[in-house]
């Protein structure tokens, strides 16, 4: 069952498909622009506004409430303020690595959204592409951000930045393996790396058997219900991968100023900040696709459910930011290499054995 992706839909209704590959590429650019705009809008709401409001709610304050309804006009005001700041380039930085790092961080996070199935909106399937290696692509592109953080930290020629980027690398590589291995345990169920197949294997309309039925309503076999242990492991590894509390030691403000972004100002700072928030949404999107049925859900359109799920993950990271203390570097390494890695291997093998015995 191949559903039409967003670029295919655009190329069909505009007739661009008849111009061959060039026409298809133009249609794909339009589709990619739409998806990019949606994700940047979410990030724009999350970064300057929702983050403040959520933290304020946890700490019993009001936060932004002066500009516009609920302080929502803070968003354009902040965008203008940050873009019009002076760009200070310290004299000892290594260029062009210093200038490329923000581009890599922000660009790679957006790039990975290519394969995420965002569900249908007004009957249009909001997915840019659905290659057979979808999941491998998502994991691969999501981890490019580590390279950007390394460049940022090393090229800044600042001791805080350097420490921050070392910590970022150690953290990302330690939790990358549990993340991918728990992802692989889902692939055992679904039998495919294609994102649409993984979603179809979790939804009743996609042909999957209901997990069990309550009063005639079938509970869909979302992999979070089928294997909750893998879901918990994946969520922890995911939070570490996007560098949020309790795993935020790469930028630990009370220890190393701002980590790898210490020397960044103006638009460069905006891009790194943007990349981090895009990365949170990306983590939420991958978790939703693998474990929460992607855009599946009752009544509302798929795209709305997708939005609810990724904002749910964002809310989780913000809750952890207010509620969970930060781990130390030695604890981080031990949790990663001694705990998560062993547990994720156990999860993979147990999943394989159980699936093998049942099938």
């Amino acid at each position: 069952m191949a559903t039409q992706t967003l670029p295919e839909f655009i190329s069909e209704i505009t007739g661009l498909g008849s111009f061959g590959v060039a026409g298809e590429f133009v249609a794909a650019i339009v589709g990619a622009g739409i998806i990019g705009t949606i994700m940047l809008t979410y990030t724009g709401i999350a970064g300057p506004w929702a983050k403040r409001k959520i933290t304020a709610a946890f700490t019993d304050r009001y936060a932004a409430n002066r500009m516009g309804p609920f302080g929502l006009l803070t968003i354009p005001a902040d965008a203008l303020r940050l873009l019009s700041k002076e760009l200070i380039i310290p004299e000892r930085v290594d260029r062009p690595a210093f200038d490329l790092a923000p581009l890599v961080v922000a660009g790679s996070a957006l790039f990975a959204f290519a394969v995420i199935p965002m569900g249908s909106l007004f009957g249009i399937n909001m997915q840019i592409a659905d290659p057979e290696a979808g999941l491998a692509y998502a994991f691969a592109v999501a981890s490019i951000a580590t390279l950007g953080l390394t460049m940022a930290g090393y090229a800044s020629a600042n001791k805080f930045s350097f420490m921050g980027s070392l910590r970022a690398i150690a953290q990302n590589i330690a939790y990358e393996i549990p993340l991918v291995l728990t992802g692989a345990s889902v692939v055992i169920f679904a039998g495919s790396l294609q994102m649409s197949e993984i979603v179809a294997a979790q939804t009743i309309s996609g042909g999957a058997e209901p997990l069990f039925s309550i009063a005639g309503l079938g509970i869909p076999p979302w992999f979070a219900f089928v294997n909750p242990f893998a879901f918990v492991l994946f969520t922890i590894a995911n939070i570490a991968e996007v560098g949020r509390n309790p795993f935020d030691i790469p930028e630990a403000p009370t220890e190393i100023v701002a980590g790898y972004q210490t020397e960044y100002s103006s638009v460069y700072f905006v891009l790194i900040y943007l990349g981090e928030f895009l990365h949170i949404f990306l983590g939420g999107a991958i978790a939703a696709t693998l474990f929460l049925g992607g855009p599946a859900g009752p009544v509302l359109p798929g795209f709305v459910w997708f939005t609810i799920k990724i904002w749910g993950f964002f809310l989780l990271t913000q809750w952890a930011r207010s509620a969970v203390p930060r781990v130390r570097i030695d604890q981080l390494i031990e949790i990663g290499w001694k705990g998560m890695l062993v547990l994720s291997f156990a999860n993979l093998l147990l999943t394989a054995v159980i699936v093998g015995v049942i099938a």
Binding site: A106, F111, A129, K159, F162, L166, I188, V355
Partner: protein, 132 residues
């Protein structure tokens, strides 16, 4: 449509968006360079020494371990894709499972060895432990 055309299009968009933000910012922002403004930030003090400082060897050890395990996850992926369909096609459970058990077993032995040698144990600063 070939899906990689669309992926490439998003690649173009995800470079153009940051670049256009940089362009907009360069039109808006002032530029008032000053010597003291352009020094490396070190909490307001005059910066001392270089940045290419010695750092904990442990960062290197975990990076080496990562290379091994990352390649291994790449090799596990194809197996997970065909696992279920192979079982449904009537291939025996032992035939499908045993090679992967041996493969992961070898890696786990490697991890145990690294663990035993303290590669995943954060090494402490010797001076810090003396003072305790």
């Amino acid at each position: 449509m070939n899906p990689w055309i669309a992926v490439g299009a998003l690649g173009v968009v995800s470079v153009v968006i940051p670049l256009s933000m940089m362009l907009v910012s360069s039109l808006l922002r002032p530029s008032v360079p000053e010597d003291s403004k352009r020094t490396t930030y070190e909490s307001g003090e005059v910066p001392t020494g270089g940045t290419r400082i010695r750092f904990n060897i442990q960062y290197y050890m975990v990076a080496l371990l990562f290379v091994v395990f990352d390649i291994e996850t790449v090799l596990i992926f194809p197996w997970t894709v065909i696992y279920r369909s192979a079982l449904e096609d009537g291939v025996g459970l032992v035939t499908v499972l045993a090679p992967m058990l041996i493969f992961i077993g070898v890696l786990v032995v490697g991890l145990a060895w690294a663990w035993h040698n303290g590669a995943v144990q954060w090494s402490r600063d010797p001076q810090a432990s003396e003072t305790q």
